[in-house]
């Protein structure tokens, strides 16, 4: 069972390869073979779309547009310029891919349903151009007389062409699996689950989204080219908005984010109309009804929900979890931070609307210290952390990290310089395993790129293994080894906090910002946390702790800063701020709390009804 679940993808690929080889004989006639070729073409398209929708969490309702760009490129090149099959395929992919870059650009600013509308608009624009640019596309008549595909000068018969499409589908599947199981797949999943946390690990979210768009566009383009040489004829009505919807349905119905989902979804939605022909005019009605029913019964898609059910009966296979059990200093090799001042905030101000969340905040952090940042609710502590870690833009003032002005840097740039953080409400990648959470933290540490990952080059495998072991070592360091293959969301909360710290350590921080690390923990967990923070400090990491649990923060902080109403009201050692009347007042409302109860208040007991 263990072996099976680990190698399910490759087992499937082998079975699929055999099936593809045998299919021309099974199919028997040309019509059936043509149908299976088409099914494989949709599979290719769905696999590419899955990278975008399933891994990266971006919904595209305009995939038919990219499919059309590939198809028209090939049809025009083949009929007008006499290009052969292979050059058409390559140019179709390149051309569609460049539109992918164009389409990715809005994601920098546009999100959610707004982005969905951008993709809808894109698809409709392409369809409209295909209809109206008569001289190039032949409008409604379309382009016919596409020559038979040839390979190395040899004409391809239906069977050979089926094998070529089958080979492309297997390749697309392999690319899908390899990306999923690489740093890119992990980073994409991470981005879709928490963009802010992904950026705080040094992942360039924009670059990654662009990559996802390009990959999905290239595969859609390839599918378009393959379709042209299958059908020999194209017209605009096969690239409509409804087709975009159908492609998206393939991914969601099969199970977005799973490797087998798009294959199953494409197969099901290609086959379904055939199956439903017996319903005659009710065919589309039944089709809609089936979609709705599947979504109710299997909300995560066929493969996604099936995997959930399987997982319930066969819990995560335990794999090797030992790593090398190296001490922390060796895993992340944190050198001494350069310079005396680690972080400096100068006159920081930040407004939300008319509300001043930070007002001329000045704070300084020496290298190697544990610095407590406290203040009553709403004092601006988290805002200050967000401002120095590149999540918020300040209205005025400067931030210097290790002597460099970092005020205008973005989160992932700061992370790469050695600033790591955790979040008030933990921003873990909930659907990923504990190991993958930490592993994703090493993303910007890799030297090998996308092609190494797709082709599984030895250099890439070596690097994967190195970082996997380092991630396991970090888990060992915080005591989560036993949970390496559990989903992060299934961990008890105390462990989730620890996991978030382990993940932050993967960026080899010189400065670690902890936002309320003790919130939600039990007393014994807080004791563990204290030991952990002290250990990290002993390794030379400078630490800022925002915390309401005063016993903890007072015990570990060498220096403290107290904020109230967005201003610094006190600085000093724990003992100093504890005695500071301004601090007492900020917390209790007035300094009277320190005085014995006044005589008259004793009457109050009588006021009780």
């Amino acid at each position: 069972m263990m072996w099976l679940s680990r190698n399910l993808n490759w087992l499937f690929a082998v079975v699929a390869a055999v099936l593809i080889l045998a299919m021309p004989d099974i199919a028997g006639n040309e019509y059936a073979l043509r149908f299976y070729t088409l099914m494989l073409i949709y599979t290719i398209l769905a696999l590419g779309l899955n990278v975008l929708v399933g891994y990266t969490g971006l919904v595209s309702l305009g995939q038919a547009g990219l499919y059309a760009i590939g198809a028209y490129t090939a049809a025009i090149l083949a009929t007008r310029l006499g290009f052969g099959f292979v050059p058409c395929l390559i140019l179709g992919m390149v051309f569609a891919g460049s539109f992918g870059i164009l389409l990715a650009y809005p994601t920098v600013r546009v999100r959610g349903v707004y982005l969905a509308v951008v993709t809808i608009a894109f698809g409709i624009i392409v369809e409209n151009i295909a209809i109206e640019w008569d001289s190039l596309t032949g409008s409604w008549v379309g382009i016919s007389n596409v020559p038979k595909p040839t390979l190395l000068g040899l004409p391809l018969n239906h069977k050979m062409y089926f094998y070529i499409v089958g080979g492309c589908a297997l390749a697309a599947f392999a690319v899908n699996v390899n990306i999923m199981n690489s740093r890119f797949g992990r980073a994409m999943l991470a981005t879709s689950q928490s963009e802010i946390a992904a950026a705080s690990l040094g992942i360039n979210v924009t670059a990654l989204r662009t990559l996802a768009f390009v990959l999905s566009a290239v595969t859609a383009g390839a599918a378009g080219v393959l379709y042209v040489f299958l059908n020999k004829y194209i017209s605009p009505d096969i690239f409509s908005f409804s087709d975009s919807i159908r492609f998206l349905l393939m991914v969601i119905l099969g199970g977005a984010g799973t490797t087998l989902g798009p294959v199953v979804g494409a197969g099901a939605l290609s086959y379904l109309p055939e199956l439903l022909q017996q319903f005659g005019e009710w065919q589309r009605f039944v089709y809609g009804a089936l979609l709705a029913i599947v979504m109710f019964v299997l909300p995560r898609g066929i493969v996604g929900s099936a995997a959930d059910i399987l997982h319930r009966f066969f819990p995560a296979a335990r794999r090797e979890t030992d790593g090398d059990k190296r001490p922390l200093g060796e895993i992340v090799s944190i050198g001494p931070a350069g310079g005396e001042v680690c972080l400096e905030a100068k006159d920081l101000s930040l407004h939300f609307g008319g509300l001043a969340a930070l007002n001329n905040v000045n704070a300084q952090l020496s290298s190697g210290e544990i610095h407590g940042l406290i203040g009553p609710n709403g004092a601006g502590k988290s805002t200050l952390l967000n401002a120095v870690s590149g999540i918020y833009r300040v209205n005025s003032g400067r931030v210097f990290f290790l002597g460099v002005d970092t005020t205008d840097m973005r989160s992932h740039q700061l992370a790469r310089r050695g600033l790591a953080r955790t979040f008030q409400n933990t921003e873990l990648f909930q659907e990923m395993t504990v190991l993958d959470n930490v592993w994703a933290g090493f993303h910007s540490d890799y030297r090998t790129g996308l092609f190494g990952a797709i082709l599984r080059l030895p250099s890439y495998r070596k690097e994967e293994e190195k970082h996997r072991r380092a991630a396991l070592d970090l888990l060992n360091f915080v005591g989560l080894t036993d949970y390496a293959y559990e989903k992060a969301k299934s961990l008890p909360f105390g462990f989730q906090r620890k996991l978030e710290i382990a993940r932050a350590l993967a960026v080899r921080p010189k400065l670690l910002l902890l936002d309320e690390p003790a919130a939600g923990l039990t007393q014994s967990e807080i004791d563990d946390l204290r030991d952990l923070i002290i250990q990290l400090s002993d390794h030379g990491i400078t630490i800022v702790v925002v915390e309401h649990h005063m016993e903890l923060v007072m015990a570990i902080s060498s220096q403290m800063t107290v904020l109230d109403y967005g201003e610094v009201i006190a600085k000093g050692t724990a003992a100093e701020v504890q005695e500071d009347p301004k601090v007492i007042e900020a917390y209790f409302g007035s300094p009277e709390m320190l005085a014995p109860p006044p005589e008259e208040r004793l009457d109050d007991a009588e006021r009780e009804p």
């Binding site: 349903v113 951008v118 009605f285 409400n425």
Partner: protein, 291 residues
């Protein structure tokens, strides 16, 4: 001069429909943070049912009332079965698939029972064009934008003068706080879908005399209404109506001065451009990320 007036009036006519559809998307989004992809089919339902009821020999007013009534029931049922089960999960796009599926079912059922051909909805206002400043338009086309503006006005009034209206705004603004003051949030969602579907059905009836009614008439109107709602800023009712009217006018001017062919390409390019500059739409509310 007369052609400018012509395009303007015709543009306001079709723009009024976009505005009404977009208004429906706005109302549903406000209450449930979900997009009903079958909303275009609600238009079709209104138009097609009116014709069917007229075929039965019912008077126009009764036919219209019944058609809108059925549209409302459709909206309420859709919210219950296709939206509410998925509203609990924050990142779920399950509603996307379920509403699409229900739209497919409705459209195919209409094709079967109504037929695959387009039929005009007779309207006394779409028989003879009137001449305004040298431009000939059907009174129906003038009626649509007026109806759109009137409905926004009524909605504005309703949301400020009635408890139900205030409650709808409250739910849109902050669901949790709405519950705290005693508002039944799920009931408001149901009412919102009923209202949006009534508007959808009405828009279908208003537009059918101009563009004819068919089982597939809802698709493009639905997409454009959604796109308009988004570029107007789906959180703002006046925003989506202004965007709808503008979009219609721009379309007609592209039709007239560039070519009919370029209409969708230019229109949707504007949609993308607007979103690049205003990621939350023209009048939308920006949200601050909290971590």
């Amino acid at each position: 001069m007369s052609s400018v007036v012509q395009y303007l009036l015709a543009g306001l006519g079709i723009g009024g429909i976009y505005a009404l559809v977009a208004l429906g998307f706005h109302i549903m989004w406000s209450s449930a943070k979900a997009v009903n992809f079958a909303h275009g089919d609600t238009l079709m339902l209104g138009a097609v049912l009116t014709i069917v009821f007229l075929d039965f020999g019912l008077p126009m007013s009764v036919a219209i009332a019944l058609a809108i009534g059925v549209s409302v029931i459709f909206g309420v049922v859709l919210e219950r079965v296709a939206i509410r089960p998925f509203a609990a999960q924050a990142r779920s796009i399950g509603w996307m698939l379920t509403t699409i599926a229900i739209g497919i079912m409705l459209e195919s059922y209409a094709t079967i029972s109504f037929g695959a051909f387009a039929r005009p909805l007779p309207s006394p206002l779409a028989e003879k064009p009137v001449i305004i400043l040298g431009a000939g338009v059907f009174p129906q086309e003038l009626l649509i934008p007026l109806a759109a503006v009137a409905i926004v006005g009524l909605l504005y009034f309703f949301q400020r003068r009635t408890q139900l209206g205030r409650a709808m705004r409250a739910v849109a603004f902050n669901r949790e706080a709405a519950g705290i003051v005693g508002i039944n949030v799920t009931r408001i969602a149901m009412i919102s879908f009923a209202l949006a579907s009534a508007l959808g059905g009405l828009s279908g009836i208003l537009v059918a005399p101009v563009i004819q009614a068919s089982a597939t008439m809802g698709l493009l109107l639905g997409i454009k209404g959604f796109a308009v709602a988004i570029i107007g800023g789906i959180t703002s009712a006046p925003g989506v109506v202004i965007a709808g009217l503008l979009y219609g006018v721009i379309e007609k001017f592209v039709d007239g001065y560039i070519s009919t062919a370029a209409r969708e390409a230019v229109g949707f390019s504007i949609v993308i451009l607007v979103l690049m500059i205003w990621p939350q739409g023209l009048f939308g509310r920006k949200e601050i990320v909290k971590v």
